[in-house]
Subunit: 382 residues, 2 copies
């Protein structure tokens, strides 16, 4: 870290909107940020100093030579490359030992079980017979997930017969790495919560207030910060679990712990993400320190910032799909005029049904009012 020269260079692998949203706080703090993007015209194009394949070791090692620390827009960089970077003396955050839990859902479930945090009943199943046995033992329905590569509802199916994921077993059989599918009980949840945590290599940890996330078709659609209090003990339990997981997986950077609140009042961990996360976008305007600024502080091992909310109610609504005519600015003349309070974020992506092309955040005193305004603004881009 070239902190003593006043120049700190952060390299981000992946050129999506998460890398893009790290750029503003890097500019404000005076950190130098570079992005290794997959393609020209990526969402983080402005900061992309290099375009190349993150699965190619030499590409990643060459990129790493231009920066002081490597971090990520996504969790897909192969472990061999991550360990290769560390072997070359490169600072990598989160570290590969931690990142494995976000890369493989079965490895994650084992770790969560070991940490003793509450999770849905689960099993790693290598064939249809084992899967059917689990389904039969858990009420005749279950959730099956691919261990790797799933996101935003991809790689997730609710099934009542093992044959419904026969194609996934076939694909596993053809994969040199082989492996299993993850099956989980279908949780009877009333809502979903997310606990964002940031942790530095030196161990300092800060958490944001627990938020409620509302998913549509497996994709995060809305986030309410703070999560409306239905039962204070539940939110305390969610925060407690978030802290245990952050310390247990020794994350460095931002961690999102997504949880179910069950009908019978329990909190169960659903997923982990080891990077800034959609459930934390509200924090750009809604928290004293945004998740993107905090992630930069954490991966450079700088002291973490205050995470209090900036208003009693903060709502983030994703813009999914977007205008048929083109990127979000095609609607700015009407939408900005109608919604002067809304903070509008465009990822500079071409619209496509269901694609996250941006988000809207509104802050204020009344959740009902703020929610209505954020929803109306996002809807105006549809």
């Amino acid at each position: 870290m070239s902190l003593n020269s006043g120049s700190i260079r952060v390299g981000v692998i992946g050129g999506g909107q998460l890398a893009r949203m790290m750029v503003p706080p890097a500019i404000h703090l005076g950190l130098r940020i570079s992005v290794l993007a997959e393609t020209e015209g990526s969402s983080a194009e402005r900061a992309a100093d290099m375009v190349g394949d993150y699965r190619d070791p030499e590409t990643v090692y060459a990129f790493a030579e231009t920066v002081d620390v490597i971090t990520f827009d996504h969790e897909h960089v192969p472990q061999e490359i991550l360990y290769g970077l560390e072997a070359r003396g490169v600072q990598v955050h989160p570290r590969p030992d931690s990142l494995q839990y976000a890369q493989d859902k079965i490895v994650m479930r084992k770790k969560l079980a070991e940490l003793g945090v509450p999770i849905p009943a689960w099993a790693a199943v290598a064939d249809e017979a084992a899967l059917q046995e689990f389904i039969d033992a858990h009420g005749g329905r279950a959730v099956v997930k691919t261990a790797r590569g799933g996101y935003d509802g991809k790689g997730v199916r609710v099934v009542s017969a093992a044959g419904e994921v026969a194609d996934w077993f076939t694909a596993l059989g053809e994969d040199a790495h082989g492996g299993s599918l993850l099956v989980e009980e279908l949780v009877d949840f009333t809502r979903e919560l997310s606990q964002l945590v940031a942790r530095r290599p030196s161990g300092e940890t800060r958490t944001w207030p627990v938020v409620e996330t509302i998913q549509i078709d497996g994709v995060c659609a809305e986030v309410l910060a703070p999560a409306p209090v239905q039962n204070a003990a539940t939110l305390e339990e969610a925060a407690r679990i978030g802290a245990i997981v952050a310390a247990g997986v020794e994350v460095t950077g931002v961690l999102a712990v997504e949880m179910f609140e069950t009908r019978d009042g329990r909190v169960l961990v659903n997923e982990l993400a080891m990077r800034p996360h959609n459930s934390g976008h509200f924090s750009i305007e809604g928290s004293v320190t945004s998740q993107f600024e905090q992630h930069l502080r954490a991966v450079t091992d700088l002291p973490l910032g205050e995470t209090a909310l900036t208003a009693p109610a903060v709502v983030m609504v994703n813009v999914l799909g977007g205008p048929a005519e083109g990127p979000m600015p095609v609607r700015y003349a009407e939408v900005l005029a109608a919604h002067p309070r809304a903070k509008i974020h465009s990822y500079d992506k071409m619209p496509r049904p269901g694609r996250k092309v941006g988000h809207v955040t509104v802050t204020g005193d009344s959740l009902a009012e703020v929610l209505a305004e954020a929803r109306a603004t996002a809807a105006a881009f549809a």
Copy 2:
């Protein structure tokens, strides 16, 4: 404007911290921003797509071909070039007809007089005799300013005899353009106020709450938003003047109207700046819409955003000089740990006595508390 394609390209002439701070809102809104910087390694280096001399017409015209609208980090682009851009069909905001008032203090005083807003007694003086006459008629002391090129206290002298600016008269005599110095009465003011206004080409105008600015040696040191109310009528008068000036000079973009509040309760206009201004840096965290976002909206003729403050008290303190060892990040390990609430902005500039290398903003409920925290944070970089 290529609004219909969803791509809006803004070109900023000048690579200083104002251009730098336009980049984050451009990223969030999904606008494309490019900077014509004077030198390599400028404050806005990240966004600098071109390095060249803004006094060279061909350089500026070539830059303009890559964008939809031209705006500015400073007011020093020669009028011939600005009119040359317009003659080529380039959108320029603010327009040269407006920008002349920020480029020449004598032209500005004439315009303000014509608009009927209160200003200090003034005269344009072409020689020492005329200056001495003004000084004698205004209590034996006066403020002399060069009409062009002054900023941050440069080009301003308080004198009691005309001979104290003999060098400036000599320089004017050697200048092919000739011209006069501006002389003004020494105003007995109790504090300084600033009214930020944004205005679109279509005429829509939004103002932020009037702020108090505290100068040290002619350089803005602190800004209190909103200005503490000593007399509500005074703040209303400041807002009224700001609106008249914005409409009168037909600004497009952000305008700062700097004013004196006099001991006898009057408000007099001191200076104009036709761009985001140091007195508006508080708005990055302290207002729903920052001056940088608003400037981008205004120059692209998009609807303007809400300008309410995000907290009852917002204080911005400049970091002047900075650490002896290097840019501000050399102190981050200590300063961020001690001041987790403070929002720290580094312009990535090498420290030099008196140089603005960054600023700190703190928001909260109590002015006294927020002011103390912002001052302590900024002081920790000294």
